[in-house]
């Protein structure tokens, strides 16, 4: 969702609930048989992540590979503890470094390997006589690696998490936290837009009067008139502000809307000090952007760019020193006011985009004042505010009620259609997958066991685990005597089973399953499975 123009809120502000989807009762269309030619945005190869704990080495991910293509929704399914969330965090290195560690693997994004440099950062020393392994990390290198990967977070790869009530900082208002993301990644555009705004007062006055007249007409007219006001002021966020002022005027019945709007416009004038503050901010953001591109080129080329880093660092330091006077308490408030207001209204626009009914109130509020569903919408708007190429969602609806769940999923779908973001959706709920995903990867005990399109997976599950999962879904239309389940329990990842990790619970286990890990083989168009029951051609990386 671009912050430059507001998404036209054609849909009404009231959310109509959609009924909860029940598994397999909705028809899933079979996709076209042609192979997928969309470009790959994320290529994960052989991701291995271990956690080094007191009790031993938890082998959480053992060679996970998948590709994500532009615009597709890939679902990652599995039981609790199978490593789905760990996969997502490993891609962007959000694993808490002691005790976890991405041991090896490649994650290609925009031509850069996000995991470059893994081998140099840590050494592993097994402790004799125990299951423990001591990890010696190079603090400096790990920190540098975090900064590198940080350059793609937010605007390249965005993430939303499971518990929305815990995911936001409780002491900062919503608009503050939303604005942070906007400024960090789109700061230059925001400031350019702000500096280009000229409150052309007569034009604004005329548009404001039109707005006042439209208040009595209808919502759509109000919106159109507010948009016109924004155009008159050369600042679209001012249009948003005008719209909400109009709404306020309608509910409170005041008559001097035009004067208010004009007055607000006249306050928009940017003084000299404010302008120089803004120029400095813009320069800082520019340097940040250049640093991000340096990091990306480091990851692309596979070497450390000391010269460029140093140059940019020095520039930034000089700039910061020059700007120290702007940090004094009295001056800071006054000088940053235009930027803060602009950020506030852009945040309101972002909240409109996720269909929040009263965005001004929400933006001013704090996280503890909102419900889980609202917070998750806010998180989505934060994630999508900068048009990321990939959105990774870790069980986004698990903590929410079923009706809200449907709304959130519908929202994600719509936004994906509008912007074209690829989504990696992690969940344990097969119904959600059926509703939203294009392709599915099934994970068990840290490995992907089957990967197929949604239709293929549900109609022709190949791997015994997938079959077991699908069989265990209770079906309303076929009352049976008892609930099916998969015998046994999830393996201990410190001592995982040898060979295929599913073999202890598999009804079709063969001797070879205990000895070797089955390779991923192709069993139909776009349908891969890792099982010795099938012997198709191995998947080519």
């Amino acid at each position: 969702m671009s912050a430059a123009q507001p998404i036209s809120p054609a849909s009404p502000a009231v959310d109509t609930g959609t009924p909860a989807p029940s598994p397999l009762s909705l028809p899933i269309e079979a996709p076209a048989a042609a192979p997928d030619l969309r470009p790959v945005v994320l290529d994960v190869r052989n991701l291995v992540t271990y956690f080094y704990t007191y009790d031993g080495v938890v082998r959480a991910l053992e060679g996970v590979s998948f590709k994500l293509r532009r615009g597709e929704t890939l679902g990652l399914v599995g039981e609790t503890g199978c490593g789905k969330s760990v996969t997502m965090f490993s891609v962007t290195r959000l694993i808490p470094d002691p005790p976890g560690r991405v041991v090896s693997g490649k994650v290609l994004f925009r031509g850069a390997d996000l995991l470059w440099g893994l081998g140099h950062e840590a050494r592993f020393i097994p402790v004799k006589g125990t299951n423990r392994v001591k990890v010696k990390r190079s603090f400096r290198r790990v920190k540098a690696a975090q900064a590198r990967v940080g350059s793609v977070r937010g605007a390249g790869i965005a993430m939303i998490f499971q518990e929305p009530t815990q995911a936001m900082n409780p002491i900062f208002a919503i608009h503050d936290q939303l604005g942070e993301v906007l400024l960090e990644h789109r700061g230059e555009e925001v400031i350019d837009g702000l500096m280009a705004s000229t409150p052309d007062l007569p034009a604004v006055r005329a548009a404001a009067e039109a707005l006042e007249r439209s208040v009595k007409v209808s919502d759509e007219a109000m919106r159109a008139a507010a948009k016109a006001v924004g155009e008159a002021a050369h600042l679209t966020s001012f249009g948003t502000q005008a719209f909400y002022m109009a709404r306020q005027a309608r509910t409170s019945g005041q008559g001097n809307l035009a004067t208010e709007v004009s007055r607000a416009a006249s306050r928009m004038r940017i003084s000299g000090a404010q302008a120089s503050f803004l120029r400095g901010e813009r320069e800082l953001r520019k340097i940040a952007r250049e640093m991000r591109s340096v990091y990306i080129s480091e990851m692309r080329r596979g070497e450390f760019e000391r010269v460029n880093r140093g140059r940019l660092g020095a520039r930034r330091l000089r700039l910061r020193l020059r700007r120290i006077p702007y940090r004094l308490p009295g001056i800071k408030r006054r000088v940053s006011r235009p930027l803060r207001e602009e950020t506030f209204w852009r945040a309101v626009q972002a909240l409109e985009g996720v269909q929040i009914a009263n965005p001004v109130q929400v933006a001013r509020g704090f996280p503890h004042e909102l419900s889980g569903g609202m917070l998750q919408r806010v998180m989505i708007s934060m994630a999508l505010a900068c048009d990321p190429e990939i959105l990774m969602a870790d069980e986004p609806t698990t903590a929410l009620d079923v009706t809200i769940q449907a709304q959130i999923l519908e929202l994600m779908n719509e936004l994906r259609r509008r912007i074209g973001t690829a989504i990696l959706l992690i969940t344990h709920d097969l119904a959600v997958i059926a509703e939203v995903a294009d392709r599915v990867a099934v994970m068990y005990a840290g490995q992907i066991v089957e990967m197929a399109s949604v239709h293929d997976l549900f109609t022709r599950p190949l791997h015994p685990y997938t079959q077991g999962l699908l069989a265990s879904i209770p079906r309303v239309d076929q009352p049976s005597k008892k609930l099916e389940s998969i015998p046994g329990s999830v393996p201990n990842l410190i001592f995982p089973p040898s060979g295929c990790r599913y073999h202890p619970r598999c009804p079709h286990a063969m001797p070879v399953c205990k000895e070797q890990r089955p390779p991923m083989t192709v069993e139909g168009t776009g349908h891969n499975v890792a099982c010795f029951l099938y012997n198709g051609a191995p998947v080519v990386e």
């Binding site: 007191y54 002691p98 005790p99």
Partner: protein, 367 residues
């Protein structure tokens, strides 16, 4: 049972990896050995030993009265507790000089011990016993460490009881106990302790034993609120747990739940706090003596803080009057230094151990 043992083993593993905590543990074991030894160690003989920091002329400025004395000696007129600075004559040879088992003196060569002329409080005989510094340290270990441990244990016990009750039952019991802890936490510790002791002494409790009991009561009164607070917050958490609900559903009485569930779960932070506090008691006693409040009447007993502070209280005045070298002459610096060091190392090692324990027991540190 096995799970609890495994948890102890795990805690011990983390503690072992923490060098500071191990150093602290080693020193505490030394102190514990001194404690046991000190219980049986007799005070030295009945003749006061009078020595000073060095034998021979000490280079002080000519206007210092100690300048020309052949032996720099410091003795204290009998009947005083903190003597004024001055120089006196005394014969140098005395058979009751250094306790031969104290190897520190030997190792440091010409670093002899002075003596203290604080008669002991051995009221069973009419013959007062005197201490030299080594004996004082031995006996002082018993008194200081013993007092600290007793006070902390009692305070923790009272706090545990009240905190568990208040947190578990909630309601008006909780409100009352919380208000009471608020009250006691608002009064600064040292002031309340002194107030209680003063009131006790004015009402006639002047003898040695009674003074000790007064000190104990005063400290317990001051300390239990900390523990009560800790235990209360823990019991608030435990109260909401499912296993408590299950226990209630299966008919366990409230008392049983408190004893079996609430108390064991709050023991860890209480334990950490206890180990921290054990190191603080001698410091507070020292502060009380330093500001001039005479804790133990004449006869005095060896207790690190009181002895060190009694000497230190004239130290500052003497420094400014005589300068450092004059002070070495006129003030029993060893009386300040050695007990002060003992307090320092005791408190330090206890703190090391407590900090290591806290880190080892902390579930948030993601092991």
């Amino acid at each position: 049972m096995a799970a609890r043992y495994a948890q102890y083993k795990r805690t011990w593993y983390f503690l072992r990896r923490n060098t500071l905590a191990m150093v602290g543990l080693a020193i505490i074991i030394l102190f514990a050995a001194a404690f046991v030894y000190g219980l049986t160690y007799p005070a030295s003989s009945s003749t006061p030993v009078q020595y000073c920091a060095s034998n021979g002329p000490v280079p002080v400025s000519p206007d210092n009265p100690c300048y020309d004395a052949p032996y720099i000696v410091c003795t204290y007129p009998s009947g005083t507790v903190s003597p004024g600075p001055g120089c006196y004559q005394t014969p140098p040879d005395n058979p009751n000089f250094i306790a031969p088992t104290f190897t520190l003196a030997h190792g440091l060569g010409a670093f002899p011990f002075g003596s203290l002329v604080y008669p002991s409080a051995d009221l069973s005989t009419s013959d007062p016993l005197f201490y030299n510094t080594y004996t004082m340290l031995e006996k002082g270990t018993v008194n200081s460490v013993g007092l600290s441990v007793l006070i902390v244990a009692t305070g923790a016990g009272v706090g545990l009881l009240l905190g568990a009750l208040s947190g578990y039952f909630g309601g008006w019991i909780d409100e009352i106990v919380m208000r009471i802890t608020d009250i006691f936490l608002s009064i600064p510790a040292i002031l309340l302790v002194i107030a209680v002791i003063i009131v006790g002494k004015s009402s006639g409790l002047r003898s040695f034993d009674e003074t000790l009991v007064l000190i104990g009561i005063a400290f317990v009164v001051v300390w239990w609120p900390f523990y009560a607070r800790i235990v209360r917050s823990q019991s608030l958490v435990v109260r909401e747990q499912r296993y408590v609900e299950a226990a209630k559903a299966s008919g366990a009485s409230n008392g049983r739940i408190i004893v079996k569930h609430v108390v064991p779960n709050s023991v860890y932070p209480v334990f950490v706090q206890m180990s921290l506090d054990v190191g603080t008691i001698p410091l507070l006693l020292a502060a009380i003596t330093f500001i001039g409040f005479v804790l133990f009447p004449y006869p005095l007993i060896p207790e690190w803080g009181s002895v060190a502070a009694a000497g230190a209280s004239i130290l500052t005045a003497v420094f400014t009057e005589c300068g450092v070298k004059g002070a070495v002459c006129a003030v029993p610096w060893w009386q300040v230094a050695f007990p002060g060091l003992a307090i320092f190392f005791f408190s330090l090692s206890v703190n090391f151990l407590a900090d290591g324990l806290r880190d080892a027991l902390d579930p948030r540190l993601r092991r």
